[in-house]
């Protein structure tokens, strides 16, 4: 029965998920107008990779989909998890966790030898716009859409982060968001 429920879940084109709840303005609305003249906040999509919270500019995200069955590409790079079809389009799906040193090797989620437990019910694929052709990025969960003003973004101190794919750190209250250059993380 559970298997059939899975099939059903996969069978539908993943409907657009309600993103209304994802929005959390960083400041109350009445203060917004005041601040607007001084600073324009940017919108970011925040998501989880392992236990860390990352964020990328929302205008780079074309859509968010549930994880459909993947087809593995033989002899491909380690970070290429496989390809999916999305409304007739064939899209590659990449892992970024390995690049971010959050895991030793990418999860095996395509082909007959799928590792159980490598996907959870909150796993999603972000379809990211890319000049070379849009790509999917596997994330563990989508958290929310946040607004960050430039003043809320801290540049990286030496010793933090191991590459140019990190842009900075966003602060919202006590929460920390690691801002990612997704294109560099995929390269």
């Amino acid at each position: 029965m559970a298997a059939f429920a899975d099939i059903l879940k996969q069978f539908f084109y993943a409907p657009d998920e309600d993103v209304g709840e994802l929005f959390r303005p960083s400041i109350p609305a009445d203060e917004m107008t005041l601040l607007a003249s001084q600073e324009r906040p940017g919108e970011y999509l925040a998501f989880f990779l392992a236990q860390e919270c990352y964020a990328i500019p929302i205008d780079q995200v074309r859509e968010i989909v549930r994880v459909p069955p993947l087809t593995e590409i033989p002899r491909s790079a380690d970070n290429l998890l496989g390809v999916i079809k999305l409304r007739g389009e064939i899209l590659p799906v990449y892992d970024v966790k390995m690049r971010l040193k959050l895991c030793e090797r990418p999860p095996k989620i395509a082909g007959p030898e799928v590792e159980p437990g490598s996907l959870t019910s909150t796993s999603r694929i972000l379809i990211v716009r890319d000049p070379e052709g849009d790509v999917g990025v596997l994330v563990d969960a989508v958290r929310e859409v946040i607004r960050l003003k430039p003043s809320e973004i801290e540049s990286l101190a030496p010793g933090i982060g191991g590459g140019d794919h990190l842009v900075g750190l966003g602060h919202l209250g006590t929460d920390l968001f690691i801002l990612l250059d997704i294109h560099k993380a995929l390269a």
Binding site: L8, P68, T71, R75, D130, E132
Partner: protein, 729 residues
């Protein structure tokens, strides 16, 4: 069958064209049942049948020739008014058309089954029954006319018939005498004819028996129309014509719609309810048929002529027959498109000449051109070449485009037949038949569309009584619309019937174990509606339990996704349903062999595979560590796909070998299983995966994940040209 292959394909192509024309005309005839018969239309159908007869006789296709002969006979009597165009006659004509399709399909496959022959004979006999029965006694109306016997003797039978019809419809008839100068009489006559045609019907044009003065040529034109003599005189003032009334037009204010009046049955309504057409209520006025005088109708063999009889298994059925698909591989092409292809080829030749010149310059013993300049020129030529090849490819894709209307016409016939069978009144509306898509898509669309339209009529719309109770228009509307959106084509099939019953779907889904109660409760109506596309959903349930809308829709979905298309539905209870199909305009379709290796499925273009064989593990030899196999005395290299693709290998005693490549560059590719053959649409992986080695693209086999298509050329390169692979040592 003595016809050569070429002859046969010519015959099939030409016959298909005639049948296409016939189909269009019959569809119009069918739609206008009970309306005043248009002489040109019947004449057109008659001519189609006539050409089909001639063609079939020429190619020695006796079955078709015979049936066409009977059809022609029937139509001849029809156009001469010897028999009435009744429901049954229209049905018989449509049936004979369906039979033509079946027999032609067989002929194209060089088969000849007893079933089809029997059917052709049965239809042929039925047509003969109509022909024998059809002698309508006439008190000759022509006697009323003040027509010279001389003139009357030269009128053809058809012309006499038209004359009678005109009289019967209360038209006035004139003899128009016109005298033209010999030098330009053809133009004058054409002018006169066009003037007259705007007022009525030109029944006959005869050279006058009385030539008038010596310099000109005179014509007598027999003309029928509903105008007054004075008006006619006025209209013809500028022309050298004089008007002589033969029969006066009598205005009949009491019966303004006289021509229609005669279509109303002399039998009281309800006397023979089984012959009431569900498509359009038009009752026949053929007493000799209504009274059951035709013995054929008592005979169960001819039971199919009666619209209300349940279809026998042999009854032609749009879905079962191959008739919906094109039998011929021919495409009719606009000459302009071919011209532009020719232009592209011409320019390619120019480029070739330029490249040859450059090659000669480089190889000539004399002073070589400066390398940079030479490279520059070569580069320019290659850019030109690329652009022209692009044009050529686009041109060829265009040539493959055919209008969707071809399928729509066939759908219209199906709708009418099903409506008749199920006792419903349906208006079938078609829009966008001119939208063009690849011929292969049009053909592959035929079945899915037929299925959806059939469902819409059969289960979607209500019976006239039920509709009246719901205060809906008694005539239901089923519409098909095609639209071009960018490089996609959208086809919508909508009905104003009862819509999908989500509650029912929910119940069935729970009862058949597809969903748990909790899951079913959570689903939105739209999600529930989409369940009807689920494989196994329909088979798990009864047709009637779902308003029948689930029947085989999973197959429809699979067929559509095989064309890289999508199907969705939107339905509102009691208001109707709409199915939306989105398709690409063109496809690169290849026939592929579907194989599996280590639990993965791959597609291999079949045109790359020259042979398929199987070998035991013990037959594999090695040469310098590389595996080879023997193939009829030749030794060719072997590549295990699992090993090439670095997949975990499965233990098998025997494997299948796909032999790919030609001559000295052949390769045996070992796979675990052969799963079947299929036409697939190959999509390049594109983007970052453009250069994936050994993979040409991906395709959709109706599974949930994409299936990769192998690039055999690249695999040959890789294996045949590579140095010894270390893992094989």
């Amino acid at each position: 069958m003595t016809t050569s292959t070429k002859g046969l394909s010519d015959f099939v192509a030409e016959a298909t064209e005639i049948l296409d024309a016939l189909s269009r005309d019959l569809a119009i005839l069918d739609r206008r049942r009970g309306e005043r018969l248009e002489p040109d239309l019947v004449n057109g159908i008659f001519r189609s049948a006539h050409s089909l007869k001639g063609l079939a006789a020429m190619f020695g296709e006796q079955r078709i020739a015979q049936l066409a002969h009977q059809t022609e006979d029937l139509l001849d009597r029809l156009r001469l008014g010897r028999i009435e165009l009744t429901e049954k006659v229209v049905d018989a004509l449509i049936e004979s058309f369906d039979t033509f399709q079946v027999v032609l399909a067989e002929t194209s496959r060089r088969e000849r089954s007893a079933v089809a022959t029997e059917r052709a004979e049965a239809v042929s006999q039925k047509l003969a029954q109509f022909i024998d029965s059809g002698t309508v006694e006439q008190s000759d109306a022509l006697d009323q006319l003040e027509l010279d016997t001389q003139v009357r003797n030269v009128l053809t039978e058809y012309e006499e018939h038209r004359l009678r019809e005109n009289l019967r419809e209360g038209m006035a008839v004139w003899k128009v005498r016109a005298v033209f100068d010999l030098s330009d009489f053809d133009q004058g006559l054409a002018r006169l004819n066009s003037k007259l045609k705007s007022l009525g019907e030109v029944i006959s044009t005869l050279p006058s028996a009385d030539p008038g003065d010596g310099t000109g040529i005179a014509f007598d034109i027999i003309f029928g129309g509903k105008v007054e003599t004075e008006k006619l005189r006025l209209a013809l003032t500028a022309l050298p014509a004089s008007v002589h009334p033969l029969f006066q037009f009598q205005p009949q204010p009491a019966e303004p719609s006289l021509p229609l009046e005669r279509l109303v049955s002399p039998t009281p309504p309800g006397a023979e309810p089984e012959h009431r057409s569900p498509v359009r209520v038009a009752v026949s006025n053929a007493p000799q048929q209504a009274s059951g005088a035709l013995p054929a109708y008592a005979n169960p063999r001819f039971g199919t002529a009666d619209a209300m009889v349940r279809p026998s298994p042999k009854q032609p059925d749009g879905e079962g027959d191959p008739v919906g698909r094109g039998l011929t591989q021919t495409v009719r092409v606009d000459i302009g498109r071919l011209d532009s292809l020719m232009d592209a080829v011409g320019e390619l030749l120019l480029i070739k000449a330029n490249v040859a010149r450059l090659a000669e310059q480089a190889s000539r013993g004399g002073k070589p051109p400066p390398g940079q300049l030479w490279g520059h020129e070569l580069h320019r030529e290659s850019r030109l070449l690329e652009r022209k090849l692009d044009d050529l490819q686009k041109g060829i894709l265009e040539v493959r485009m055919v209008p969707l209307g071809q399928v729509f016409d066939k759908l219209a016939r199906t709708v009418r037949r099903i409506a008749r069978e199920s006792g419903k009144e349906v208006d079938f509306l078609m829009r966008g038949g001119e939208v063009e898509v690849d011929k292969l898509i049009v053909e592959a669309l035929s079945d899915p569309l037929m299925h959806i339209v059939r469902n819409a009529v059969d289960h979607g719309v209500e019976t006239p009584d039920e509709r009246e109770r719901l205060s809906k228009r008694p005539r239901a509307a089923v519409a098909i619309r095609a639209m071009q959106r960018g490089n996609q084509v959208v086809i919508e099939i909508s009905d104003d019937g009862r819509g999908l019953d989500e509650e029912r779907i929910r119940e069935v889904a729970v009862r058949t174990g597809i969903l748990t109660r909790a899951q079913a409760e959570e689903m939105t109506p739209r999600e529930l509606q989409r369940l009807i596309f689920l494989p196994g959903f329909s088979t798990a349930s009864r047709v009637s339990e779902l308003s029948g809308r689930g029947v085989g829709l999973d197959v429809v979905k699979t067929n559509i996704s095989r064309l890289s298309g999508m199907i969705d539905t939107h339905s509102e209870r009691g208001v109707g349903s709409t199915f939306t199909i989105t398709l690409p305009e063109t496809l690169a379709i290849v026939r592929a062999l579907v194989v599996s290796v280590s639990g993965r499925v791959y597609a291999v273009p079949l045109n790359a595979v020259s042979e398929i064989t199987s070998i035991a593990e013990s037959e594999v030899r090695t040469v310098e560590g590389r595996e080879v196999i023997g193939l009829r005395g030749k030794t060719i290299p072997l590549a295990r796909l699992a090993r090439v693709f670095e997949l975990p290998e499965t233990e098998l005693r025997r494997r299948f070998i796909l032999v790919v490549g030609l001559a000295h560059r052949r390769l045996g590719i070992a796979v675990d299983e052969l799963l079947g053959q299929q036409d697939v649409v190959v999509k390049p992986l594109g983007g970052r995966l453009r250069h994936t080695p050994g993979i040409a693209g991906a395709t959709d086999l109706g599974d949930r994940n994409p299936v990769l298509v192998l690039d055999t050329g690249a695999l040959i390169e890789e294996v045949v040209n590579s140095e010894r692979r270390p893992e094989l040592v």
